[in-house]
């Protein structure tokens, strides 16, 4: 069974098409990157996977649950982290984690908070209001919140945005360790190409709401004859490398 299965997913706002019939799968334990420029449809896709946005058409299954009919069974086994959605700033980090421990019905919440405090080194600011933390500290807290229920599927929207290189590296290392230890499946939307190369087994390149190419980072670099994913991204964003896509399509069909 796939961790995430998406079929012909479409979202339209009036005459504007935000996501245009995309299909993809995330296997158990796999990390898939969602790459694309601003307005490519990454956040819309993630919002539909989280069931906070209803698709115009198409189907989403997460951990075997149809998100249109049975979303709450899936939601308790998954989680989401984004630096763009805040936690209540007047509550301390500990209180915030307790709130989400209750919302996800986590057993022994305080014990789980103690584990996350040690793993993500939250100890220095555990009892400080979340609104008073630095960007790096907030990101670690957001990550702790997203791991409070030991998710089997984790959706990450630019998890290291606005972090200094050291903290960003710490977060990426932690995500790698968590995936190895738990077998969690991850879907990562990011503009950080180095991060995508490091964390992702498979990358979906989105443009104007459609998947225009996909493959492992190595395969994509080879197909576009580029040394970095950043150059691959630029080729696709600027409409270069069409031949490579055609070749890929032919390979896939054969």
């Amino acid at each position: 069974m796939d961790a995430i299965r998406v079929e012909a997913l479409t979202k339209r706002y009036g005459t504007t098409q935000a996501v245009g019939g995309i299909s993809f799968r995330v296997r158990p334990g796999q990390t898939v990157g969602l790459l694309g420029g601003n307005g490519a449809g990454k956040s819309t896709t993630i919002a539909m996977l989280l069931a906070i946005l209803v698709p115009t058409s198409g189907q989403i299954e997460i951990l075997g649950h149809d998100m249109a009919r049975d979303r709450f069974r899936a939601l308790k086994r998954m989680n989401f982290s984004s630096p763009y959605i805040a936690l209540p700033g007047r509550l301390t980090v500990r209180e915030n984690l307790r709130v989400y421990g209750h919302l996800y019905s986590v057993r022994h919440t305080d014990r789980r908070i103690a584990e996350l405090t040690e793993e993500l080194t939250l100890g220095d600011f555990l009892d400080r209001p979340a609104g008073e933390l630095s960007a790096g500290q907030k990101t670690r807290v957001a990550l702790a919140k997203s791991l409070i229920n030991r998710p089997e599927v984790l959706l990450l929207d630019e998890p290291t945005a606005s972090l200094d290189p050291d903290t960003g590296d710490m977060v990426r290392s932690w995500l790698e360790r968590y995936r190895r230890a738990s077998g969690c499946s991850m879907l990562l939307a990011s503009h950080n190409m180095a991060e995508v190369e490091r964390l992702c087994d498979h990358v979906l390149m989105l443009q104007k709401g459609r998947i225009v190419d996909e493959g492992s980072p190595e395969a994509l670099r080879g197909r576009y004859d580029r040394d970095t994913m950043e150059d691959v991204f630029l080729d696709i964003a600027r409409g270069r490398g069409h031949g490579a896509q055609t070749q890929m399509t032919a390979e896939t069909q054969s």
């Binding site: 946005l53 805040a86 007047r90 919140k145």
Partner: protein, 272 residues
Amino acid sequence: MIGASARRVWGLIYRHLCLYRRSWPRLVELAYWPILQMCIWGFTARFFTSRAVGSEHSSGLVMAATALLAGVLLWEVAIRSQMGVAISFLEEIWSRNLAHVFISPLRPWELILGLIGVAFLRVAAGVVPAILVAYLLYAFNLFTLGPVLVLFFANLMIMGWAVALGVVSLILRHGAGAEALAWSLLFGLTPLSAVFYPVSALPVWLQPISRAIPATHVFEGMRAVLLHGHVAWGQMGWAIGLNAVWLTLAGLLFASQFHAARIRGALITIGE
């Protein structure tokens, strides 16, 4: 299943308790307006009754003053209940936390139950001090209304929830632009709710509208207890029935607006 559901509801209540525990101005604000109302109307009532001492209208004025104080206190129950639900929902928007709440396994009806729980505590924190002030300053004991007071409280709180669900639905539909309704909507119903005067004081054409409001029957019932010393069960029946109708309609409105917000993507962008 019920245990998990109860924990999620408690999670939401706990979130708001933490907020109040950390902020004394918020706690003071809860009691400030009910006490202020009680002071204004209490001294006004005392002024008029003191002028009437010894006159032939004295006992009538005292009774009217008593009904006025009881009306002020009971109307605060409805207002604080409505504001408790609506403002707690707005707190999630102001802290940009709404998306986190809605991607958790919290069901919409659990969200409503959590908000109602918070509203119940807000009503207690707001109205109990005002009841004490009424007793200390004017020797007015609201509990002399007897056990039926429980029904008065329950009906007014339920009406507050119904109006709050309407406000939350409008916020889901129109975003932060509808925020002001959280403070003002129920105040707008005051002239029609027979809080300070009986329905018969209204123009004939307004009376059917007034009778469609559950609070009207609570206050008519309250006057029956104070003036005639008996419980008007017919009025209570109307209040309960109307509350059932309005709460059902408000619940359906909330459900439809919540679904529409999920289609428009408003749960992500609301408050921005």
